[in-house]
């Protein structure tokens, strides 16, 4: 009847979300990639490799959405910056992958820092819509700036990168997959390390009650800006991977659709979990590109069904599911996760403490 017993709760889910074991996911991911890479099917290699840029983008979105608490569609801007930087470097004849990654990360961080300087002053829906504006403006700029982007049809046939001078270019689908996996896992691991421990707690505090955090001396806006810019570096790396795995790009690839998929992937994965976000992205693309392939024209139907099921079966995302499973195995660890509050002031920090 009323909302009460079901009103449970972001709190409980949030509480559950933070109990996941952080290193399980990357390990699992590595194992899955190993299996895919060992399989003889080049289609699998190519398909899997192509999913990783979005996975890295999703990790970046998760950092901003989950940890900084700012739901964003705008990380496609640093993603685009990274991608076009890489593409232009490669087309200009510089084909060193490490250099690409570095340049892309720098370009991404810079872009996100500039955008973030304005955006992190806003919250909730307004932030979301401003980030949407950032996404749209990115795609429009990409389409209009033809000398860089090649127009709406984009760039094709970008040369493959090399790991080191003298090594052969990364051309074979399997090699590309392995390379992209290593980069993705490393980037995610670095992000997890940077957003772990006390920093994670600090951000949780800032999300929970900004006024209190400020009154304890925490530079809220600065923290959020730093996360935003750092996530931008990550998105830039995703952009570099986009070029390395696809070797083409169109403005649409850095537009709203990509941004929306990344954000939804984050929700599926559980906003607080970086590996969850990556898994979510891979799940989304698997459904759209692989599972739906035998049903041409009905990818939206399957994707839509995935979203609907995810909402119902995975409250709190994949990560919360893992946690629930492990709770079932070790019921004692359930201590302190709390149960339906008498629908408390919890979620309503806007009331008076933050005038």
């Amino acid at each position: 009847m009323s909302g009460r017993r079901h009103d449970m709760s972001p709190t409980v889910v949030r509480a559950l979300g933070r109990r996941g074991r952080p290193w399980v996911a990357p390990g699992l991911a590595a194992a899955v990639v190993g299996v895919v890479a060992l399989s003889p099917d080049p289609y699998l290699h190519a398909a899997a490799g192509r999913m990783l840029p979005l996975a890295v983008l999703a990790v970046s979105v998760a950092a901003v959405t989950g940890h900084a608490g700012l739901p964003t569609l705008g990380q496609v801007a640093p993603y685009a910056a990274g991608a076009y930087t890489t593409a232009r470097l490669a087309l200009a004849g510089s084909d060193l992958a490490p250099l690409h990654l570095l340049a892309a990360a720098g370009a991404g961080a810079l872009t996100a820092a500039v955008i973030g300087a304005v955006l992190v002053r806003y919250r909730a829906t307004v932030f979301l819509m401003l980030s949407l504006a950032a996404a749209e403006l990115t795609a429009i700029t990409a389409a209009q700036w033809r000398t860089v982007s090649g127009g709406t049809d984009g760039l094709a046939g970008i040369p493959a990168p090399r790991l080191l001078p003298g090594l052969p270019p990364l051309l074979a689908d399997r090699t590309v997959l392995l390379y992209a996996t290593v980069v993705s896992i490393a980037a995610t691991a670095v992000a997890m390390a940077l957003l772990g421990g006390d920093r994670r707690t600090l951000l949780a505090a800032v999300r929970g009650n900004e006024a209190r955090a400020a009154a304890s001396g925490h530079r809220v806006t600065t923290y959020l800006w730093v996360v935003h810019a750092g996530a931008g570096a990550l998105a830039g790396i995703g952009g570099a991977l986009l070029i390395h795995t696809h070797r083409w790009i169109t403005p649409a690839d850095v537009g709203f659709t990509t941004a929306a998929l990344a954000l939804l992937a984050v929700v599926i994965g559980g906003a607080m979990s970086l590996p969850g976000a990556a898994t979510g992205a891979i799940a989304v693309l698997t459904v759209r590109d692989v599972v739906a392939a035998p049903l041409p024209g009905h990818a939206p139907l399957l994707l839509g069904s995935l979203f609907v099921t995810a909402v119902y079966l995975l409250p709190g995302g994949l990560t919360a599911l893992l946690t629930r499973l492990s709770l079932r195995l070790h019921p004692r660890s359930a201590h302190g996760t709390g149960h339906p509050a008498p629908v408390d002031e919890a979620g309503r920090s806007t009331v008076r403490s933050t005038p």
Partner: protein, 287 residues
């Protein structure tokens, strides 16, 4: 003078057209707090139903509007049922769900009506133009102007001047306290979404004779409606109206006056409005 007056009149008419399209979202998202990404799909559904029903007569037009409203309301009912379990889980989960519903709905619509762009047939009298001061005005847009005024006025009275509207806002603020005064918040949710759906369906019947309806309709309308609702300040009908008119003017006077930057105008204008809105600063009561 003339150079701006004519597009300005266009802009107002087009803005009011958008106001009708955004009305349902204002109710669902602005007032009811449900981030309904299936809004565009409901409009498309209304448009398809109207296209299938209308035959160029006044009677069929009325019937089409009626059917479209019913279909929209039914869609809203589906959403109400689907989101009932998600209360308190935040906008992102709602977004995931409604986006999923939108994708499924779009697929069903193209399966049922085909991928072609359709257009409901208007009675001949509406398809013509009138000449005023040396310029032509499409009669259908002038008609929309009139209807929009009625819809917006009704919306304003309902949301801002009736108990029902206050209950809707209260439910978004703190549903348990609404239950505590003896009103079932789930009933409020359901009514909101059904009403929003009905409005979306009706908007589908009213706007697609002018713009056509096809696979693209859902996305385009959703984006414009979101911009209007958020720029107007969530939950405010006058705000949404002002935003709709602004978008209308940007899309007419703006794009023709500055064609070189036309692609940027709408989004840039939205960003400026949002950046300037103090209420959205941290800690202020915003969404």
């Amino acid at each position: 003078m003339d150079a701006y007056l004519i597009p300005a009149v266009d802009g107002v008419a087009y803005g009011l057209l958008l106001a009708i399209a955004a009305a349902g979202l204002t109710v669902a998202f602005g007032a009811g707090g449900v981030l309904n990404l299936a809004h565009g799909t409901l409009i498309a559904a209304g448009g398809y139903v109207a296209a299938a029903t209308s035959a160029g007569t006044w009677a069929s037009l009325a019937l089409a509007a009626g059917y479209a409203t019913l279909v929209g309301a039914a869609g809203g009912g589906v959403l109400a049922a689907a989101t009932a379990g998600l209360r308190g889980r935040g906008h992102l989960d709602q977004a995931l769900l409604t986006f999923g519903v939108a994708l499924v709905g779009a697929d069903l619509l193209t399966t049922a009506y085909g991928p072609d762009t359709l257009r409901p047939r208007l009675p001949g009298a509406l398809e013509t133009t009138v000449r005023v001061a040396g310029h032509r005005y499409p009669v259908d847009r002038l008609a929309v102007l009139g209807i929009a005024v009625v819809v917006v006025a009704a919306g304003y009275v309902l949301l801002h001047r009736t108990r029902a509207g206050r209950l809707v806002r209260a439910t978004v603020d703190d549903r348990a306290m609404v239950a505590g005064i003896g009103v079932n918040p789930r009933l409020v949710d359901a009514v909101v979404l059904v009403a929003a759906g009905a409005l979306a369906g009706l908007a589908g019947a009213l706007t697609t004779p002018i713009l056509g309806v096809g696979p693209h309709t859902a996305d385009t309308t959703l984006l414009l409606s979101l911009i209007i609702v958020v720029c107007g300040g969530l939950g405010s009908v006058p705000g949404a109206l002002a935003a709709a008119l602004a978008v209308g003017l940007v899309q007419t006077v703006g794009v023709t006056s500055f064609p070189t930057v036309a692609p940027y105008l709408l989004i840039a204008a939205m960003a400026v409005v949002l950046l300037a809105r103090r209420t959205s600063l941290p800690g202020r009561a915003s969404a």
